[in-house]
Symmetry: C2
Subunit: 340 residues, 2 copies
């Protein structure tokens, strides 16, 4: 079986196909491609910079917003500040220039919110695409205490999550599945509230606030594959196991309702907006407090263990294995909307 539907290429294919073919070796690569690592770290002469790329597809109205924040978030996982953005915009034939202006305005506004300058890009009309596609490229620089990777967690480290799970998925489904949700009893107020989740998808402040404490060992921002996918990734990157307490994973009541209506698992729903932070044992309260002082909710949800096991502790104390996501729950939910 070598056919896959939608979403990110699975880890084994990344390893076997991509990671073995990376051009010229270079001693200035401090962090190259690896599972669960979303931004590279390289040295240019004496300076260390972070580099990342992420595409936004299938979410037209928020294309500009997402291309800024999704790329900025990857840099934030390095504990770095995102600084310079380039964007390639691929537009369907006959795409309305007023809509292009809308996308450009949104990029401008969102970039300003996090102090990012758009320094370059490429915009073209592309044959054989149905929707606009934005691909971003972000450069980040160090501001506090060097940088961290997603693979730097140590045995005993506590795992903190900021805000809530499935923030991004909640916003996307409220927007693109509005009719589906309304027809199945979600109220207008709830739909509006869910749409506003889009304002919480940046984790730049989360990452920099945590980094300033000096006790962070690793960070990772869950995106496709949801909070549990992100937890698998940070554990895999750190070559450790993990024990996660389900009752500590924060998730909004609205997100639960939406997940129930679509019959999907919100723990595997696209989750930009939460940052996973591995911190030195005993220092977790310091980091949680510092985040809360900066108006970022945070909770300790687990710890890294010296075994390959990925364990979810249920509310009743029973334990089960955390499965790697096959594909994000978003796609299944969006398929269901198509009939509406």
């Amino acid at each position: 079986m070598n056919k896959i539907k939608y979403g990110k290429l699975p880890p084994e294919s990344l390893r076997n196909i991509i990671f073995k073919r990376l051009g010229s070796p270079n001693d200035n690569i401090l962090l190259g491609p690896a599972i669960g690592e979303d931004a590279a770290v390289v040295k240019i002469k004496d300076n260390i910079i972070g580099l990342t790329t992420d595409p936004i597809t299938g979410a037209y109205k928020d294309l500009g917003r997402l291309v800024v924040h999704i790329n900025a978030n990857d840099i934030a996982t390095r504990g770095m500040k995102p600084v310079f953005l380039l964007v390639t915009l691929l537009l369907p034939q006959n795409f309305d220039l007023e809509k292009l202006k809308y996308i450009a305005e949104q990029m401008d506004t969102e970039a300003k919110k996090i102090g990012v300058a758009i320094v370059g890009g490429h915009t073209e009309f592309t044959p054989d695409i149905k929707n606009p596609i934005a691909v971003g490229f972000m450069v980040g620089e160090i501001v506090y205490n060097g940088y961290v990777t997603s693979g730097g967690a140590k045995v005993g480290d506590k795992l903190i999550m900021t805000k809530m799970a499935a923030i991004e998925g909640t916003a996307i489904l409220a927007e693109d599945g509005e009719e589906f949700l309304r027809n199945r009893g979600l109220s207008e107020i709830e739909i509006q509230k869910a749409k506003e989740f889009k304002n919480w998808i940046s984790v730049v402040k989360d990452g920099l606030t945590a980094m300033e404490t000096g006790v962070v060992h690793a960070m990772h921002d869950p995106t496709e594959g949801g909070i549990l996918g992100g937890i698998c990734e940070i554990a895999e990157a750190s070559k450790l196991g993990i024990r996660v307490y389900e009752k500590n994973i924060k998730i909004s009541e609205i997100t639960r309702k939406i997940a129930n209506i679509f019959e999907i698992n919100p723990y595997y729903l696209i989750s930009s907006g939460t940052m996973l932070i591995a911190v030195e044992k005993g220092k977790e309260s310091l980091v949680v407090e510092r985040l809360k002082q900066n108006s970022i909710d945070a909770s300790v949800i687990g710890e890294f263990i010296d075994s390959p096991d990925l364990i979810l502790v249920r509310g009743d104390g029973s334990e089960e294995s955390i499965e790697w996501p096959r594909q994000d729950e978003l796609w299944e939910a969006l398929e269901k909307c198509k009939g509406e």
Copy 2:
């Protein structure tokens, strides 16, 4: 009329829609978005780096090759050396992983040829696209004499072109229009020869060789819009006019034959593989000689003038205006293949 078919967004739309919306201002931007400038130049602490992004669409078999070289070429126009590459790969649903491996192998091979390391990326299966899309991001560093822009040409500067016009277009049409060309009398040997033009699309060596002389004022690599489109762009970026001598523009006999068969103008056919170099008057022979010593053919094709005019001097001495390209001739040619 605000609908456009295929190809790059026209300059007036870039100016009015994109360039006015660039996020936070930043004093470390040495060269931001501008017409005819294909790579940004920014300062990170004390280091100057070049940044660029370009997508490759609609050329499956050479996707890996092109995403490496097209992005490297943009960095080369800054007189910089391309160093680090990131690639976002968007694959159609059910894309064969063997084909992905082929793309990855090609990227690896081509990156090694020019000493580039692939340090990151993103690979996913995307709904609603028919063909794979590769979007590259290249970071470059200074090796000789700082950097140049496309807008640095001065009145009196001589314009040099390397190799030939329409190298990339010749290779693409030989590949994607093979049947069309064969049915209209192009020989097998000519088709094979034209396909091999793909091996000449890098201008990294061209740019660095020229830069080392220390007399280069500006560089630009013509892509979509062809050699004449590229000439318009370097003149516009430099806020000068230009006089170009058609008889000095090198173009292969095979390219002429292919252009005749498709009834297109090869001067407006996608042209990666040639570098436009503006050099101090009197130093043009030095640069041409240095290029030739390094096995890169080069010729002086014109000079920058103190007027807004873009002038093409025909073989018979008559003069005409150079028109900005509306869209690359490639698209018209590829449309004609569809019936075949």
